[in-house]
Amino acid sequence: MAAHVLRLRFALLVGALRGDARQVTRSVAAVAALLLGLAVVVWALLRLRDAPDEVAQTVTIVGGAGITVGFFVTPLLGGPEDPLDPRRFAVFGVSPAALAGSVLLASVVSVPVLSLIVLGVALVALSGAHGSAPAVGVVSVVLGILTCVLGGKVAAALAARVLRHRRSRELTGLLLVGLLVVVVPVVVFLASLQWRGRVPSQLTAAVDILAVTPVGAAWALPWRALEGTALVPSLVAVGTVLVLAATWWVLVRWLLTTTERPLSSRAQRGLGWFAVTPGTPSGAIAARSLIYWLRDPRYIVNFLVVPISAILTMVPLVVVGVPLSLAALLPAPFIALFFGWLAHNDLAYDSTALWMHVASAVRGAADRLGRLVPVTLIAVPLLAIAIPVTVGMHGRWALLPAMVGVCGSLFLSGLGFSSLSSVLAPYPASRPGDGPFQQPQRTGGALAQAVVLVGTLLVSAPALWWAWLTLAGDDEAAWMALWGGLAIGVAVLTAGILLGGWFFERRGGRLMEFVESV
């Protein structure tokens, strides 16, 4: 069995070099580029033999963690289909255990994993040069490679099972946004570091955290062994491999014993966002709102204005002489506040089309929740960029948790208040099809706008206070701000959705009179 699958794997590898000339040239060029890159990396790693322990360990752990994450994420983002998908072997009647092992073994024979093995050899040499026992280095690299291979297989199997029929522009966009949320802060963080010939303390702290996470533990083993603190990383590394192996085995079993429902792919055709969101009323409302937020100029203007004006708020402060490091702290909370506030008149934007929700007797909470999805999807990535940039410009990373707490509190409680106000106090908005700046004659609504804004600021006051303490030098208050702020936000949001939903169900008739009168 294993030999068969291995031979198949080799045949596939060689097969990549067949085909028409253009494709072969491209493959060869890619392999050559990869070899070149690999040589450079190996050379760089070997040069680190003379560097201080701290530098070598930082590079190894951060790089290793990055590679591990890459192995897991690539299949989810829509890499090429896995030629060794276990389901393809279903017709041969192989036992799941044997198949799981064979496919795993064969997966080692692939370009990425082979490159990783080369890197692993260099890493063993590197850690050896820094005084680590060769055995520990080998164990570390083997565990690391196993984590990568297993993670990649598990992710590919999941993607094939869960995502394949849902693949669409919308979903890929969603995953990319998710990636952005993770990558941007990391890049900003790394870019803001000041090396000056030694490892910055923030990075050391980050490495310490990575060393006990599943993605970094295996790579940290030899370095922690040097310091004598290898117990936790080794447990985490071994545990990770075991958990991944068990998951892989279960997945193979599952893939072999279930059938695909071809109907699902048919059902999703042409539905756009509706195919991505769950098939419940709130899911449908979320999809519908997303389509409007992303296509209707009235909404687009809204969410373009917020970040731009947030940046502009800094200008007057800097002009009057507030130091940039302080003024820079303003945009992120500003964005959070106004994104939470944006939804406060959402119902009025539907105009008379609201009748569909009223006539269908949609549960109020489902309506409230669904409508908040687009603004959340847009605001979260923006905040994920704005918060680290803000803190990076300020320069003190201890402020990060406080900033997250403040923004979370402002944004979530803003959404909560908006859920209430759009039901209780809607006011005329520009109608569907009108230009975004074409405001109706009778606007009013100043009260609703003010109440939502002030209410949000009031309930977020504790988080703001803790953040202020942090700014004044109390690092403990940062964590208070984080958890306190998030708790406040979640509480207000939940209350807003439930109460707003309750009112929505009871005020359907009056809401219809309102939208018809506009």
């Binding site: 109907l263 048919r266 059902a267 042409g270 539905l271 756009g272 509706f274 098939g279 419940t280 009323p281 899911g283 449908a284 409302i285 999809a287 519908r288 389509i291 409007y292 296509r295 209707d296 539907d350 105009s351 008379t352 089309a353 009748w355 569909m356 929700h357 009223v358 006539a359 269908s360 007797a361 949609v362 569907p432 099809g433 169900e505 359907g508 008739g509 009056r510 219809m512 009179e513 018809e516």
Partner: protein, 506 residues
Amino acid sequence: MDITDSSSAAPPLPGISAAEAAENPSSALPAPATPRAPRKTAPRSASARTSGSSKPSGSAKKSAPRTAKAPAPAGAEDAAAQPVTAPPKPRVSAAAVAAAYRDEAPAAPPAVPDTEVEQAADAPAAEAPAAEAPAEDAPVAKARPAAKKKSAARKSAKPPKPEPEAAEPEVVEPEVVEPAVVEPEAVEPAIVEPESVEPAIVEPVIVEPEAGEPVTTADAVIPSETPDDADAQTDPDSSAPAPTVLSEVAADTDVPAVRLRGVAKSFGETRAVDAIDLSIPAGTFYGVVGPNGAGKTTTLSMIAGLLRPDRGTIEIAGIDLAAEPARAKRMMGILPDRLRTFDRLTGRQLLHYYGVLRGLAPAVVESRAADLARAFDLAGDLGRTVADYSAGMTKKVMLAGAMIHSPRVLVLDEPFEAVDPVSSAIILDILKAYVAHGGTVILSSHGMELVERVCSGVAVVVAGQVLAEGTVDEVRGELTLEQRFIELAGGLSDVEGLEWLHTFSG
């Protein structure tokens, strides 16, 4: 006024059917949907006979498909051998059909056709060989379950074959003569049919027997018919709810589908609706007519739960709309007039939205949306955004959305405004079939002729009050509905003061 009695509601139908039989050729144009017509018109088939024979070409074509199935299983050769005995055959089949019809809709056997049919039933007994009588019964009995299943499956979209036999018999007569030419192919239909559910249903007609000929007429049209069968079989989900609905409706016909008691609504100073009482029995096609600004839309909006009445109560199938809005609203499908829809969605997305908001599973929505799109002739346009649709298409897609959760009551505000004649004929067919299966349609319209032709009950609303209500016959009395309506609305005042209009300036 008493419209709750179902038998009194029924009579208008036969009348309509006769009128329709004449019209049918035109409405037959859109292929899939039209064959439906005969289904509900079944009972009055006997009375339709004369019109059928007088217009051989049009009606002959229509009826052919159904007769087709009948003979097919019987074995074409035997039948063909027999002389063309036109007269006996139709009668026998009419009898079989009548029996079938009585079984299926015991609640409302229309008076007029019934008697005629009975006569027909007697006739064959005498003429046909004795052995056939039992044979006739048996197939009918067999047909029953199949017919039910079928009609259920069809309910959402497709041309119905189950009942159709009812309509044909007489109509068949004309063709029997002509199509001898076609005979050769007679055999294939037999092959095609079996897979469709038909055979069982069709059997009863076989009794007609000596009438070998029908077989021949059959195949001429069959091709167009078979694809439909295929479709019908592919929509399994829709079959589920239908039977239960049928039985329930039969159980609670006493409970009016909609009841308004003292309902009033004011907008500021204006009294839009002033203490309206209405009781609309289940299983009726009900029209609300009135001049502009009379309060029709406000009334329908209140029934739909979109507006809250200032006073009075509204019950939907016995459920208080104010007390249990969610349950009551679930019973209704709504087509508002003048209200927007989410027109940045494509047609497919909009139908999906309608269905999922109503709590249907996405897979069910998908298959029903496909059925509805086919029935409303929208299949080719589902990928475009609704904003790009014409007014009539928007109306159609919204009507389809109103039906997607198979409601008990349809509340339609001006459903035929801006809809072309072909589409409105299709919509009308769908709605009639819906009513025939126990659904209730309430519509407002300015088209008096349409209301008179289609509705069994009507209410005339003027200045927020119901001035007349009851069956169409009761309301119109000696006049046409339009004359009666103008009379109720205050008559035509002489137009004065426009003399300048008659002296042309340029």
